[in-house]
């Protein structure tokens, strides 16, 4: 049986599509969980009491100094050693979410610190509590500031989702490798996978530019 690339692609369509679905779910989960965690990290870095601030600073610096692949491998192997039985999918998503949280944390901190002090003082002057100040004054301004970089982080997470193939999560890259080991068409299928990732990330990048334009302060 001698099939061309298009035929092989058709034969492999189901595993590849499933892999694409898994890649997308990994990225979405990591971004959502990482962002929620990251907002708390950013708040702690900006407004936390000293010991909390130091603790969180240590956490972000440690995570940012470690390669994502090491986080993924450590999360998968270490958690199972201490008796927490997560599958490769959960362990991988956890590692990516932790990685994402440290990046979002720094984004949020930068955005919050760039807001002039007068804003907080004005909020105090009209009698807002801190949660109110955050919800009505600081949060919206920080959101605008952090949004473009956050979109970049999202694209970063899609790219990092490929690392989960190394611990055996059946995402797009692993499925591609499996198809290659059957068809020996490494050139075509790696190219195809690269193309799919490119489309996803380029879409996110364009979306980011659009959001940036939409939310820019009119000058």
């Amino acid at each position: 049986m001698d099939l061309g690339f298009i035929d092989q692609l058709w034969v492999a369509r189901v595993p590849l599509l499933k892999g694409l679905g898994v890649s997308i779910s990994i990225s979405l989960l990591a971004i959502v969980v990482g962002t929620v965690l990251g907002i708390f990290v950013g708040l702690a870095l900006t407004y936390g009491y000293r010991p909390i601030k130091w603790l969180v600073r240590g956490y972000t610096d440690f995570i940012r100094g470690t390669p994502v692949l090491v986080l993924v491998l450590a999360s998968y192997y270490v958690l199972s050693t201490v008796g927490i039985d997560l599958g490769p999918f959960q362990a991988g998503v956890l590692a990516l979410a932790v990685f994402c949280s440290s990046h979002v944390g720094e984004l949020v901190r930068g955005a919050l610190q760039s807001i002039p002090k007068g804003q907080t003082e004005a909020a105090k002057a009209i009698g807002l509590t801190f949660p109110q100040t955050f919800a009505y004054v600081l949060g919206p301004q920080a959101l605008r500031q952090a949004l473009p970089a956050w979109v970049n982080t999202a694209a970063e997470m899609v790219k990092a989702s490929t690392l989960l193939s190394i611990i055996g999560v059946g995402e797009l890259l692993l499925r591609t490798q499996e198809v290659i080991s059957r068809t020996f068409m490494s050139l075509e299928f790696y190219f195809f996978a690269g193309f799919l990732y490119f489309v996803m990330n380029y879409g996110i990048e364009r979306f980011g530019r659009y959001v940036e334009r939409k939310t820019a302060v009119p000058s």
């Binding site: 692949l69 490929t162 790696y190 990732y197």
Partner: protein, 220 residues
């Protein structure tokens, strides 16, 4: 469940980890040097007036920046031989990393080039330098000082990306850590030590880059 940390097995293989770390650093340094050359040429393409230079440079940057590096690593190791390009593990990885960092550095350098005031080029023209001489002895040195902070953070993230070489069995730090992991079953200890080595090296690189920045800072 109680687990007692025991680092003895990891310490016995510590020299392997250090060898891996040295290889990781070497890969990152060689890749960033080659990446700087690629990035510089691409950056001049990006700011060029000619469409024929600008378009291909932009295409290269967009494609590489939007493709996961693991896909690039696997592609260059497993797929390039089909095109008749046969490289060793380390060569193909360094090549990938150089092309990858070149795309990021091109954007960095482009920003730096734009930030050099046009008066500098005009002054060069006035004293009779050719375009090439102006670039080499005026614009590039000024640009490099502008982009030093971004260059430093690119080097650090490149150093972390060397961990991907483990996927094609290059014996760098992550690969050695996995090997020790399998041989000793001291999973937690191995990853603690390996992560600490990464974090320590990143902090060291960051401190080094800050020192260089201070030395080269424009006196005010």
């Amino acid at each position: 469940m109680t687990y007692t940390l025991n680092f003895a097995a990891v310490w016995r293989s510590f020299d392997l980890l250090l060898q891996g770390l040295a290889l990781s650093l070497g890969l990152a340094v060689v890749a960033i040097l080659a990446g700087c050359v690629i990035g510089l040429i691409t950056a001049f393409g990006l700011v060029s007036k000619s469409m024929l230079l600008r378009k291909p440079a932009g295409l290269y940057v967009t494609i590489i920046r939007n493709t996961p590096i693991l896909v690039l690593v696997l592609f260059s190791y497993f797929a390039l031989p089909e095109l008749g390009v046969r490289l060793g593990k380390i060569q193909s990885f360094v090549l990938t990393l150089a092309i990858y960092s070149g795309a990021y550095l091109a954007e960095v350098f482009r920003g730096g080039l734009i930030a050099v005031p046009p008066g500098q080029r005009e002054a060069g023209l006035a004293i009779g330098l050719t375009e090439m001489q102006i670039r080499i002895s005026i614009i590039i040195p000024l640009m490099l000082r502008n982009v030093l902070p971004s260059l430093g953070s690119t080097l650090i993230s490149l150093f972390k990306d060397t961990s991907l070489a483990a996927a094609i069995a290059v014996p760098e730090l992550t690969f050695e850590a996995r090997k020790i992991n399998v041989e000793t079953f001291r999973v937690i200890e191995t990853w603690i030590v390996a992560s600490c080595l990464y974090v320590a090296t990143c902090s060291l690189l960051a401190a080094l880059m800050r020192a260089v920045e201070r030395r080269l800072a424009v006196p005010r």
